[in-house]
């Protein structure tokens, strides 16, 4: 029985190539390009953080944009999001995840901002308790 199972196991995985990657993803060039772009964007981010050439209140936005760009680079060049075996489902799942991430982060910040704003200042609260 075990022998048979083994044989079967090998048999079906023929089309599977056995390795961790399918033909679309295994190129050194992809990784090198990804590394180059990521390095470039990282350097840009550190430069933005240190420079005084950019309008100060715009810096967080600039950094956020660079971060999103770099995450995109990682997703495409390292995680092979575009060439994965079943892209539609992967992208849909990612979109769902990002929607939830957005809801949780922006929802929390919005709600907590309002709550903090409406909260009675501590000294006044202490006064009332007396």
């Amino acid at each position: 029985m075990t022998m048979e199972a083994d044989r079967h196991g090998l048999e079906h995985e023929e089309d599977d190539k056995g390795g961790a990657s399918d033909e679309h993803s295994a190129h050194v060039g992809t990784y090198v390009l990804g590394l180059a772009l990521a390095t470039l964007l990282t350097i840009a981010s550190f430069w933005v953080a240190k420079t005084h050439l950019i309008y100060d209140p715009g810096i967080p936005m600039a950094l956020a944009t660079l971060a999103v760009a770099q995450m995109g680079i990682h997703l495409v060049f390292f995680l092979h999001l575009t060439t994965a075996p079943d892209n539609t489902n992967n992208i849909l799942a990612l979109a769902f995840g990002l929607l939830i991430v957005g809801l949780v982060i922006f929802g929390s910040v919005w709600i907590m901002g309002h709550l903090n704003h409406n909260l009675m200042p501590m000294p006044q609260l202490m006064q009332m308790q007396r």
Binding site: G18, T42, D86, G97, V104, V109
Partner: protein, 219 residues
């Protein structure tokens, strides 16, 4: 689905996700997808749920960032040089893991092990740098119990660090599996998950160094 594909499905309907060359993509009537697709997709979903954990920690950090309780502010304690080195280490680790992926695809044991050792060493360097940062902060009395801001900071960055540490443990297990069992399909699928995990940790780190460290020094 074409008629030819349909006949293939009929001719070999006994596979719970073993076969189904390229017709089994899951969105239509092709029948069960291949094991590789199934495992990869399941792990992708796990990573998405992990991203949501990080989202909660980011949200909490954002809410608590101003609650310094008389303690240090972000720009007082962040050292960008160290963060730059950490970033370089993790990026290198991610890249080397990509090279390991190629070595695995070629079924080259020596190259695979070498690339994985390099991946592990750069990852370890990252962990050591981060630990030294945490230890230094702690020594100055700026540990996570000092203020809500530091609580949020240590938890968010520390959670990522714990993930990387777990990744290193997994990496060791992975190397042992390749060494002892060779390039078996199921081990190949596990390696697929591992490489996704490592790349994913680098994505999270991009968010951390940009939005916590770099933005923090300019606020």
């Amino acid at each position: 689905m074409s008629a030819a594909e349909f006949t293939t499905a009929i001719a070999d309907p006994y596979r719970l996700g073993h076969r189904g060359p390229n017709l089994a993509r899951g969105h239509g009537g092709g029948g069960p997808a291949t094991k590789r697709v199934i495992v990869g997709y399941g792990f992708w979903l796990f990573l998405l749920s992990d991203i949501i954990i990080f989202a909660c920690l980011f949200a909490t950090y954002a809410v608590l960032a101003d609650a310094t309780a008389g303690g240090p502010k972000a720009r007082d304690i962040f050292e960008l040089d160290r963060v730059a080195w950490e970033t370089a280490c993790l990026l290198a680790s991610s890249f080397l893991c990509g090279l390991a992926t190629i070595a695995v695809a070629q079924r080259n044991q020596i190259l695979t092990q070498a690339a994985l050792v390099a991946t592990g060493l750069t990852g370890l360097a990252f962990i050591l740098l981060e630990s030294s940062e945490f230890a230094a902060l702690h020594a100055q009395g700026f540990g996570p119990t000092r203020s809500a801001f530091l609580t949020g900071f240590f938890t968010l960055v520390g959670c990522h660090g714990v993930h990387v540490t777990a990744g290193l443990l997994w990496l060791g297990t992975m190397m042992a599996q390749f060494y002892a069992k060779g390039f078996r399909p199921d081990i190949g699928r596990r390696f697929l998950c591992f490489s996704m995990f490592l790349h994913f940790l680098d994505v999270v780190w991009v968010a951390i160094f940009s939005l916590v460290y770099l933005v923090g020094t300019r606020l």
